[in-house]
Symmetry: C2
Subunit: 143 residues, 2 copies
DNA sequence: CTACTAAATTGTAATGATTACAAATTATAA
DNA sequence: TTATAATTTGTAATCATTACAATTTAGTAG
């Protein structure tokens, strides 16, 4: 069940602890770019002793090791994502959903720009998702 | 002095008020992507009656009208930028500086993606700026 | 297996950015 | 000049995140 995540942690010389395994599993199984609260409250159910601070700490160390990434797209809270291949993101300003964008971008793999060392590249698209847009149209026609 | 900003406000059917003029001027003269606190404390010197809430309110309305944009690049606070042509940004995770990136990107002008309506596109590059990188090297050689 | 220790976890308190709200002021139009 | 809706202001509340000290534990050496 957790061998996969044990392996990841050991490969990065991180101690194998229950919170770390659970967080990794959660992010691996939920590609919804959850915030800290969503991760915490979900895991808390099965592991009542879990502390919110531990979730913050664990996410931070996983991020330092580049196992996960954090997204600043929402502007009010960090969202987390298992790091598997560079991809860009869309956020719907109406319903808040964040999803992956399958756009290739010539600047995605850049590691240098004018002498500055680039360590992360993030492409954020903000707008109204198809679902919300359709709902809005329907409301206008019926209302 | 302020005719330029008066014009912008009127064109967008916004009431012409001193805080709005001052904020516009500040952003026009400081392309450093300041946060609310920097704008507030700077303007407060000349206009002691200015309220922080007004700065928040004004920035919000200017943003709604697309006169300015907010950047979520830092992850802890919004940074503001006069909106003049799409451009991407670099943030140095060491010194915090945010500056414009002159990279053209084929996805920058996108207004649609898979049926989703795109209203904003932001490209964020995070890493270590040349200056910090050079300092770091020097410290290693001399230390 | 046991003992040790550095690292991780936990809970609580503090911080910092942003928002809510109600009272006072003011830009604009009649 | 007056009316009024919009704006500004100050304070209090909220929410995400960080600081910190006490407790627990993963990993290792014996
Ligand atoms: Mn993603
Ligand atoms: Mn800029
Ligand atoms: Zn939506
Ligand atoms: Zn720097």
């Amino acid at each position: 069940m957790y061998e996969k995540y044990v392996k990841i942690l050991k490969e990065h010389t991180l101690k194998v602890t229950s919170p770390r395994l659970e967080i990794l599993r959660y992010l691996d199984e939920h590609h919804t770019h959850p915030n800290v609260e969503e991760i915490y409250s979900s895991l808390k159910k099965k592991h009542p002793s879990l502390s919110r601070t531990t979730v913050y700490n664990s996410l931070e160390i996983l991020k330092k090791k580049r196992i996960i990434q954090s997204l600043t797209i929402s502007g009010s809270e960090l969202r987390y994502d298992i790091h598997e291949g560079l991809h860009h993101h869309f956020i719907c300003t109406h319903c808040g959903t964040i999803f992956d964008i399958a756009i290739t971008c010539p600047n995605m793999d850049r590691t240098l720009y004018g002498g500055h060392r680039v360590e992360e590249v993030q492409g954020y698209f903000k707008g109204i998702c198809k679902k919300c847009h359709t709902k809005e149209k329907r409301r206008n026609n019926n209302g």
